[in-house]
């Protein structure tokens, strides 16, 4: 009986301690769950056909959850599906296949 009580106490303590021990991994897990947000800076965006071309090309990619084109800023905003991404070379190729020129990429965790 005493042994059972000790085991139960140990189990309760371990459960209580688990979140604290796992705490340092929360941000990484959260980031993966939320997905990545990529901003591609693009030259040559002047009209709706430009934006439409980028949408059509990027939406064929399984990693892409959504895309928004800001013609005014010359930016393409790409939301990635959780746990997936596109590397810089792939993004550059997709933008080139759309007819435009990549000048830079910023990456951040989606909020």
């Amino acid at each position: 009986m005493k042994t059972l009580k000790i085991l139960a106490l140990a189990a309760a303590l371990s459960l209580a301690a688990a979140p604290a021990l796992a705490a340092p991994e929360v941000p990484a897990a959260s980031a993966q769950a939320k997905g990545e947000f990529v901003t591609a800076h693009v030259n040559g965006l002047v009209c709706d056909f430009c934006a439409q071309a980028l949408q059509k090309v990027f939406k064929k990619e399984a990693a892409v959850k959504g895309i928004h084109v800001d013609l005014g800023k010359g930016e393409v905003h790409i939301s990635m599906n959780p746990g997936q991404t596109l590397d810089d070379a792939t993004i550059e190729k997709l933008i080139r296949n759309s007819g435009y020129a990549l000048t830079g990429i910023d990456r951040e965790v989606a909020e």
Binding site: N43, D48, F49, L71
Partner: protein, 210 residues
């Protein structure tokens, strides 16, 4: 979907040649464009295997020559200048097919052309030159445009342009023709409506990108 559209387009184009704007799409993109003006009515349906090439079926009814052209058009984006706030393009256009004059029978026909354009979200300028040989008639024509957008619209909103087109058709009764026009542009659809002063005729063009 594209093949069904092609069949429908061909069925509609027992008439039709050269639509000038946006002759190359993104890699894998389809585009249909029709021009109607005092010189001709045309329908071009093209596919872009790359972002620098397109191949399309073209049908044109040339009203002044009383002739029909049907054939293939290949367009090469020879150079694109992508800048932070602007884009410039240089295109080479080649066409080959058959021309059918109502009184002259069917002849092998072809054309070659160059197009250049430059635009920002506020300004637009373009120039086209085309030389055609329809077997029974050879001609060279030029067209230039300047346009201004009265406001800047975001993607998905209605874009409006006021444009002025000047054409030179040396063989025509009025070799120089001026056409004020409005361009409306939203999402995949572009529509232009204008009026050619010298000929008292309307212009109506449209482009749809799939």
């Amino acid at each position: 979907m594209p093949s069904k559209f092609m069949v429908a387009a061909l069925a509609l184009t027992a008439l039709a040649a050269p639509a000038s704007a946006r002759p190359v799409s993104y890699a894998g993109g389809w585009t249909a464009m029709q021009d109607n003006n005092r010189m001709y009515s045309s329908l071009l349906v093209h596919y872009s295997p790359t972002a620098t090439d397109s191949i399309g079926l073209l049908a044109e009814q040339n009203w002044s020559m009383d002739a029909t052209f049907t054939g293939l058009q290949y367009t090469r984006l020879a150079r694109r200048w992508n800048a932070p706030q602007s884009q410039g393009n240089l295109y080479i256009k080649l066409g080959a097919g058959a021309a059918d004059a109502f009184e002259g029978g069917q002849k092998a026909a072809g054309f070659a052309g160059l197009s250049a354009d430059w635009e920002t979200r506020r300004l637009f300028v373009s120039y086209d030159v085309r030389a055609r040989d329809y077997g029974f008639d050879q001609s060279v024509s030029h067209a230039a445009r300047i346009g201004v957008a009265p406001y800047v619209a975001e993607f998905g909103k209605l874009h409006t342009w006021a444009m002025l087109q000047v054409e030179n058709h040396p063989e025509a009764d009025n070799p120089v023709q001026v056409t004020p026009l409005l361009r409306f542009f939203e999402g995949p659809l572009l529509v232009e409506a204008g009026y050619t002063l010298e000929e008292d005729r309307f212009l109506l063009n449209w482009i749809y990108r799939f």
